[in-house]
Amino acid sequence: MKQIVSILLVAAIGILIFSALYFSDETLKFNEYGNVNLDDRVSEKYIDKSVNGNTEEIIFGETQNAESGSANMVTSVVVNYRSFDTLGEVTVLFVSALGVGLLLNGKRKRKNLKDAPNFILKQGARIIFGIMVVFGVYMFIHGHITPGGGFPGGAIIAASILLLYLSDDEFRVKLSAAKAVESTAGSLYVIVGLLGIVLAGYFLQNFLPTGTVGEVISSGVIPIVYMLIGLKVGSELSSVIDGFLTEEVEG
């Protein structure tokens, strides 16, 4: 009965959504998949890096001092045009991690699974860990020229920590160190924003030269911010992982 009601409701809401999106006879319509003209969207200027009036074509490896130096346009949006959202998103993770810490508080010890980690895993992890960490760092430092970025980079680092937790019953992150990294990185993000006010005029405004599009050393504050984000995300997720893989000590 419950199932039937649920299915009916879901069907009803599904029909309403589908008919509104795809079977509407209104003049103004939802643009169907792929059928988009970017000239009608603000994103056009993100691609051309022309928010502040640039009319030049942006060429990989050639254009210099564009308003956002990132070859990765998503990164341009994430760390330049909509960096404020990103600060917010960093805050979400920050406060969630804090909440997890508050909920699973108390003096804690490692929670061990029934069986000790397999020898093969334990030894394998000690090799894979290095690759993961380096790759994580690579990702957040190259966020402006590759598909990476602070969040995936940080997530990879946290994943490497998770691997250590799973492969070693003794392992624990030094929470105080994680907190310190997290806090410093977060504060520095805000400070980068404030430096924007002081050095360029607006909060989070880029105040470094943006260099040549496509080069490793380019894009102004982007690599710095992404590094901070990477460290912050990595340390936050690590402490979340610690929260779940440890248990309260009796008494």
Binding site: D115, I120, L121, I127, I128, I131
Partner: protein, 103 residues
């Protein structure tokens, strides 16, 4: 070079297919792992190397991926297989065969 690459890629594709098929066909968890791991590892090696023949400038990164797979794939399989073993997963036995199991 490119032809060699293409051949390697096709071979890789065949082994990946075989890996999938082995996982589907084998009768118990352990044999499935065996089939999956070996075939896919070789398949991936071959395919990635083939790509490296076509794009030599990517070679370093491709080697890293190969190394990574070479390490992780057997490790993953072992972890999974041991877990299955410890939890007493079903083991296929050839009809009529009796053998003392290691404890």
């Amino acid at each position: 070079m490119i032809i060699a690459g293409n051949i390697l890629m096709v071979i890789g594709g065949v082994f990946l297919l075989l890996g999938g098929f082995g996982v589907l066909r084998m009768p118990d968890v352990f044999n499935r792992i065996q089939a999956g791991t070996k075939a896919t590892t070789l398949g991936a090696f071959s395919l990635i190397l083939g790509v490296g023949f076509v794009h030599p400038q990517w070679l370093l990164k491709l080697i890293l991926i190969i190394v990574f797979i070479a390490i992780t794939n057997p490790v993953g399989s072992s972890v999974l297989a041991r877990a299955a073993y410890k939890k007493g997963a079903y083991q296929y036995k050839k009809e009529g065969e009796e053998r003392s199991e290691v404890k």
